[in-house]
Subunit: 401 residues, 2 copies
């Protein structure tokens, strides 16, 4: 039996409040043998206080040894098996820039490229054209008209932009036109199934008009299309969990991921303080709050151990504001580890802390990668965290009699 | 999504070296309440040094409570779900004696038996005939000729031998001819699917000729056929992991299992010392080395606690030779536990140690069944160990964006 089917059957509604605070890339590594991790190095009195009340463990984002991107990392935390629910590249790119995909939309990642007089690609990234130069070019493609199709063109960064086709009967299985090589012509968009034939035709017509619009540009005189993808069809938080859920995030990617599972994106916070204000102001209106904190990841990606430590301390300082609202369940976790040592997302399981009045506290009085090994939650796949949240909130009935 | 499909997509090639040292049957039990296990009793300074640098945990060979044979035990360690990839009995028997099966071969376990004047079985094991007596008899069956089929007959031990049919269109689904009872006639080989009809016909003809060859033997005047099996179709290490892999083993079974996943069996070592020489001499030529040490299992099977302790100490003494090669990832594990107390393979999870520069060390400074309980790897299914090995070696890209 599918876990979502079971969860739908067992869900119970009540007045409880659940807060999931996601410190992106929270888990880390020591910089040298015998050293401490970022979380172990940080001064975190408020996490320690929660650790004393709560239960901790290690969340495995996907499976042991798999380092996830933001998409699968968050889907796991949201309770959607990341191996079952995959977000196509185009849909994730659109989501990442805050584009609100609708059911049936096809999103495509596009790259400006340079073609020579014979139509062969001489530069797959148009000389890594700057965002300043490429954004107006992308916007110029909004002139393209195709009967029956609504077309959106959104600049991304440098040579990248996103195209979304909206209309009836647009399947998402179309092959990339990027030949992944120079000295050859771009490929035609080819449908990989019958349901995507119209999409391929629309893409072909788009490319024809784009070539004409771009032809006089010295570098970006054409573009390729990759990662064709429909909006993923994810059941909503309301359906699966019976939760009215809100997302309080600063960056478009995380707002977008939250929208894909039916969360309401609330507020316009650009700092952690502002996020706390949004949380307080919306406290009565929702059952579940996803709070996203980006900087534990970005500092890790930069390999800036000291700055990641500071960001963890910043997060720690914000915890009393959440605790003062007395959520029934408070979770602190991450979507994956981002050790400064590796300067990238990693596969290491993520320290995760859950506090409720019935969480069965473990003996730990601090919270980090080492204490979490022997925490009461053990090591568990992230996809089960939402079930733990619901149960701790009294929102799950008994399975079987 | 299947884990092998995902691994194929995420694999990255680099110059790293991975060593997996498998101490067969490594895990153990105390002989009396309050006692120590074999690994806890052994003096293992080198394992302790690695434990200080590394991360440990408990590997569950198949699922909790399942004691595996060598086949599933090693398939798990090699990253092949042992419940998905099963090796038929005949194929495992052939592999175990070092017979190199080719795709399409059918391997069959055969038992000499005694039949009476009415053709009814009076002894299913031909009076447990000795190997000395049975080997020439098995070899005498090599006289059997069947048009279009290449036939191999290999003695095993006592009443057992292996037959392999090689030829076109030989399916592996044929019922056993052993009726599992005396006083009845052997069964005819019956195909269980259309693709195996020819195999059943070939087996029938083989039995007809064998009866004639064996008829005058006082005990082994016939034989049964069991465990018909094609060579299992396992994707290779090269395909799944992008690893050029070598196996350094002493016993045919482990060489055979390694060959089934496409490892190169290298050297002709008959001692651990010689295995270390082979490792050193081949260091540049491969990415991954599977080193197999048999005696932690055989001493456990014998119930010889003291000897198993000594064998663990022998293994410990060999570790500096491996460490001196500076592998990027070094793993010490077992395919299952073989407690001297039980004199058999068991279901207990296996202490497993992984050392790399980014393994996230746990606080342990020794390595055994008890420390592994609170190790940073937690308890995990063996099939994920290869993913951890690859990630620690920088050989896995990120899943999703």
């Amino acid at each position: 039996m599918d876990m979502h089917t079971l969860t739908r059957e067992l869900q119970v509604r009540n007045k409880s409040k659940i807060v999931m605070l996601v410190a992106d890339g929270l888990g880390g590594l020591p910089m040298q043998p015998g050293g401490k991790t970022e979380l172990e190095s940080a001064h975190t009195p408020n996490l320690s206080a929660l650790a004393t009340l709560g239960v901790q463990g290690l969340s495995i984002p996907v499976k042991p040894g798999i380092a996830p991107g933001s998409g699968p990392g968050h889907l796991g935390l949201f309770g959607y098996d990341p191996l079952t629910y995959q977000i196509g590249r185009g849909a994730l790119e659109a989501t990442g820039i805050g584009f609100e995909l609708q059911p049936g939309d096809v999103a495509i990642r596009c790259n400006f490229c340079t073609i020579d007089a014979q139509g062969k690609i001489s530069d797959r990234r148009a000389g890594r054209i700057s965002s300043e130069e490429s954004a107006p070019l992308a916007i110029s493609l909004r002139k393209i008209k195709i009967p029956g199709i609504e077309i959106f063109v959104e600049p991304v960064k440098e040579h990248r932009f996103v195209v979304v086709f909206r209309g009836a009967g647009l399947g998402g299985n179309v092959k990339d036109t990027d030949p992944q090589a120079v000295g050859v012509t771009p490929l035609d968009p080819v449908a990989e199934d019958a349901a995507s034939r119209r999409t391929a035709d629309v893409a072909m017509e788009f490319l024809r008009q784009a070539k004409d619009i771009l032809k006089s540009h010295p570098k970006a005189n054409f573009h390729t299309m990759r990662g064709f993808a429909n909006k993923p069809d994810l059941p909503s938080y309301e359906q699966v969990y019976g939760l009215k859920a809100a997302a309080i995030a600063v960056y478009p990617m995380y707002k977008g991921l939250a929208r894909l599972v039916g969360m309401h994106v609330i507020g316009k916070a650009s700092t952690l303080d502002e996020q706390m204000h949004v949380l307080r102001d919306s406290w009565q209106a929702y059952d579940f709050f996803f709070m996203h904190f980006k900087y534990t990841d970005s500092t890790g990606e930069d390999g800036n151990f000291a700055e990641k430590v500071k960001r963890i301390e910043e997060l720690d300082a914000a915890l009393p504001a959440i605790a003062s609202l007395k959520p029934d369940v408070l979770i602190v976790t991450g979507d994956h580890s981002t050790p400064s040592y590796l300067k990238s997302h990693s596969w290491h399981p993520v320290p995760t802390l859950l506090v409720s009045d019935c969480c069965r506290p473990d003996p730990h009085t601090t919270f980090n990668e080492t204490t979490a090994i022997t925490g009461g939650l053990g090591q568990f796949e992230a996809q089960y965290l939402m079930l733990l949240a619901l149960s701790n909130a009294g929102r799950m009935g008994k399975f079987g009699a």
